[in-house]
């Protein structure tokens, strides 16, 4: 263990003082807690929701379908009482305790926006989709090259070692595919494609020079790793995994932080603001509202990490008003809350494949196949839009859930049909980059409060022309790919899901080189308040098109390393 940092806790050691405070225990907050604790700091981890202890609190994890009252079907109560959360694919009778109650957690949608939240220890790391991909310089350089928004203050080489660092701990199953714009990582053995997917991979290789299909890279453990796993191929991840088969704060980072003896977790603690000392020009701590007693308490620390998730981190900064920062902490640029992004998705195609009827599979792979971005890469240049998208997909033989729709009728013959594997089908959906727009933003209601007394969050978000143009291609190219692979009865789809539906919110406190146009510097430090770090999705300067959590984790570990070295140098 590294020696303790000098000059911490110098003024006093009242019981509310720690070396560092981490706000939020989701995927990035868990990492901040682990890293800071392992570097010898006494850390207070604040979580606004209830405690969820690994394994003990996964109440539904081992249940059979018939042990659920509604057999995993949504009820009218789900959709009327939780109209937003119940739209998330991961919200089921088995997982709904890991989602907030919409009635108790209101917000204002200036335009339709699905704000999916999980207020509990572990946050949404319990229910996340687990796909892990690195950004590349195609992403880090894009804003600068195209003159969009502001430049990232880092490049791939700055973050690459930190991707490796977090991947080694997380445990990511994947294949080294050797693609420059989708860099390989530190992988556990890849999962296997099924017969249809393997056939498609061959046909795509024959038909295209610029497109490929690879096995998904997922934070599911294809072999035991760090005392966790391996994955049992149940595909019930979002209930919480008693085998520790996938990465979450609860299964991995929080236990590691606890093991240091340096962690204190305080659940039911919603942070209302960061406290700022104008003489010292430093943040001194945070004020919380205890969500059970509604009492307000202050906690103090020399280093503060905000990991409350993109929209709530913006809320906290905007609500931290002082003489020095009348528009919110570190918001001299007026960029806090702006540039809200979410990937646009729920567009693609599906088709049926004749043949391979003598092939099947066993086990439920909690992973997809992935079609890395091929638009506006290398020689491809689209005239209607910038950036690009990737597809996630999976092949399977139709089960009763599909056959009950495709087969009409009833009686003996229908029973036979729906209980026998149907034709092979393939579904592919695109995940597309969304550009940062200043007017896609989070603001605070000037007069309305939520039930615990925090200002009501307002979200004003829409997808714009670049995304709309890209969507046409996302659908058309999926249809074309399935055609090329020899599928029949191909159907394109575009469900036009509103913002937030992808649960990839980001961008509300972006990184940049210039304090006039960005909130955070290259180390996720507030330009204007050097002892406050933001390392959740808020920090993203652009969205890329890959699933973003891995990048949040790498940025967090990197920022923790920087913060502690700065503290040792007494710079913060």
């Amino acid at each position: 263990m590294t020696p303790p940092i000098p000059y911490l806790n110098i003024k006093s050691t009242p019981k509310n003082t720690y070396d560092a405070i981490v706000v939020g225990s989701g995927i990035s907050g868990g990492w901040a807690a682990k890293e800071l604790c392992e570097k010898g700091l006494k850390v207070l981890l604040l979580e606004r929701g209830r405690p969820v202890e690994h394994n003990i609190d996964y109440k539904t994890a081992m249940k059979h379908p018939w042990e659920f009252e509604n057999r995993l079907q949504l009820t009218a109560k789900d959709t009327t009482e939780n109209p937003v959360q119940s739209k998330c694919y991961a919200y089921t009778e088995a997982t709904r305790d890991f989602f907030v109650n919409d009635r108790e957690n209101p917000y204002e949608q200036i335009k339709d926006f699905n704000w999916i939240r999980g207020y509990q220890v572990g946050g949404r790391s319990l229910t996340w989709g687990r796909q892990c991909y690195r950004l590349s310089d195609l992403d880090f350089e894009a804003n600068a090259k195209e003159g969009i928004a502001t430049d990232w203050p880092i490049r791939y080489k700055d973050i690459a070692p930190w991707y490796s660092y977090v991947e080694k701990f997380v445990g990511i199953s994947g294949n080294a595919d050797g693609l420059a714009h989708l860099p390989d990582g530190e992988f556990l053995p890849p999962m296997e494609m099924n017969c249809l997917e393997k056939e498609m991979q061959i046909r795509i290789r024959q038909a295209y020079r610029d497109r490929t299909m690879v096995i998904g890279r997922t934070a599911n453990l294809s072999q035991a790793h760090g005392g966790r796993g391996p994955c049992q191929y149940r595909n019930l991840c979002a209930r919480g995994c008693p085998y520790g088969g996938y990465f979450s704060s609860n299964s991995a980072t929080i236990p590691a932080a606890i093991a240091t003896g340096n962690l204190t977790i305080r659940p039911f603690s919603a942070v209302s603001e960061v406290l700022y000392d104008e003489q010292k020009q430093r943040a001194t701590g945070v004020r919380i509202i205890d969500t059970q007693t509604k009492e307000s308490t202050e906690y103090f620390a020399r280093i503060i990490f905000l990991n409350a998730s993109t929209i709530n981190t913006a809320m906290i900064l905007l609500n931290s008003v002082s003489n020095r920062f009348p528009n919110g902490l570190g918001n001299g640029s007026d960029q806090v809350g702006r540039n809200l992004m979410d990937h646009h998705h729920s567009v693609g195609a599906g088709g049926t494949f004749d043949g391979l009827t003598d092939q099947y599979y066993k086990g439920r792979r909690p992973n997809v196949v992935y079609f890395p971005r091929f638009r506006n890469v290398n020689t491809d240049s689209q005239k209607d839009y910038v950036r690009g998208f990737g597809y996630q997909g999976d092949g399977e033989r139709s089960g009763w859930q599909d056959m009950m729709i495709s087969e009409k009728g009833w009686g003996e013959s229908m029973k036979e049909k729906i209980t026998t594997p149907g034709p092979w089908t393939f579904w592919m959906g695109a995940w597309g980059e969304t550009l940062p727009y200043e007017d896609n933003r989070v603001t605070l209601s000037p007069d309305k409060k939520d039930p615990i007394g925090l200002p009501l969050v307002q979200v004003n978000f829409e997808f714009k022309e670049n995304e709309k143009q890209m969507r046409k291609d996302m659908k058309q190219s999926a249809i074309e790919l399935l055609n090329t692979c020899g599928f029949n009865t191909i159907n394109g789809f575009d469900y036009h899901s509103p913002g937030g539906s992808c649960v990839h919110e980001m961008g509300t406190a972006r990184m940049g080189n210039d304090p006039k146009t960005s909130v955070l510097n290259a180390y996720n430090q507030l330009h204007e308040v050097p002892n406050v770090f933001v390392t959740d999705g808020s920090a993203m300067t652009s969205s890329g098109c890959v699933n973003p959590s891995l990048t949040y984790m790498a940025l967090t570990a990197r920022a923790c390393d920087f913060a502690v070295s700065e503290a040792k140098k007494i710079n913060i």
Binding site: E192, C195, N235, D358, K362, R364, G399, M404, K408, W410
Partner: protein, 194 residues
């Protein structure tokens, strides 16, 4: 954009309603939104059980009744449906009774197998004759038809029951490994969970 889509849908649906004509009167809508007659659902429980068995009969594997499907269907009609679909369902059970009395002169319970097939075929035809409405628009306006609720809930109830999932289908509780390509053996049931 979403708003425009919604408006377009309303336009589309209004046209279709006119096509349905006299069957959809103002009275119908009042009836559709009334508090469902739950005691009537209870009184029809034997009929409901027979209907589920007709949809998924006992073969070399158990049928709907033995898999406890009727209780699940009744439960989900109360928990999972909007009020219009609930009324459609309870009314549907009454209509099945009436259909049997007027066509065969006896209650459903005493009908022959062929008469039962004729009855359910009639209600299936009725349910599927709204082809000029999108499913979503139809469910929103006049609720899900009786037969489709019966069929869907029977299948779901069966495939997620212990006998249905483990005998009617193949249940793999904790696979432990993923075998991506395995030869399919003729007669093999499909997996009950995805």
């Amino acid at each position: 954009m979403l708003r425009r889509k919604a408006l377009r849908q309303i336009l589309f649906v209004s046209g279709s309603l006119a096509a349905i004509g006299s069957s959809a009167t103002a009275w119908t809508y009042t009836q559709l939104n009334k508090t469902p007659d739950w005691p009537l659902l209870l009184r029809h429980q034997d009929l409901l059980a027979d209907l589920t068995e007709l949809i998924l009969p006992a073969t070399d594997t158990l049928g709907a009744k033995a898999a406890g499907v009727p209780a699940y269907v009744a439960h989900m009609v109360q928990k999972g449906l909007d009020v219009k679909s609930q009324n459609n369902f309870i009314n549907g059970l009454t209509e099945v009774s009436e259909y049997c009395r007027s066509n065969f002169g006896k209650p459903f319970r005493q009908t022959t197998h062929d008469q039962r097939i004729q009855t359910l075929t009639h209600f299936e035809y009725k349910a599927r004759s709204f082809n000029n409405l999108t499913t979503k628009a139809r469910n929103l306006l006049i609720g899900k038809p009786f037969f489709l609720t019966l069929r869907d809930l029977t299948i779901i109830g069966y495939c997620t029951s212990e006998p249905g999932a483990t005998q009617g289908l193949a249940y793999d509780y904790v696979p432990g490994a993923h075998m991506a390509c395995l030869p399919y053996v003729k007669g093999q049931k499909s997996w009950s969970t995805q």
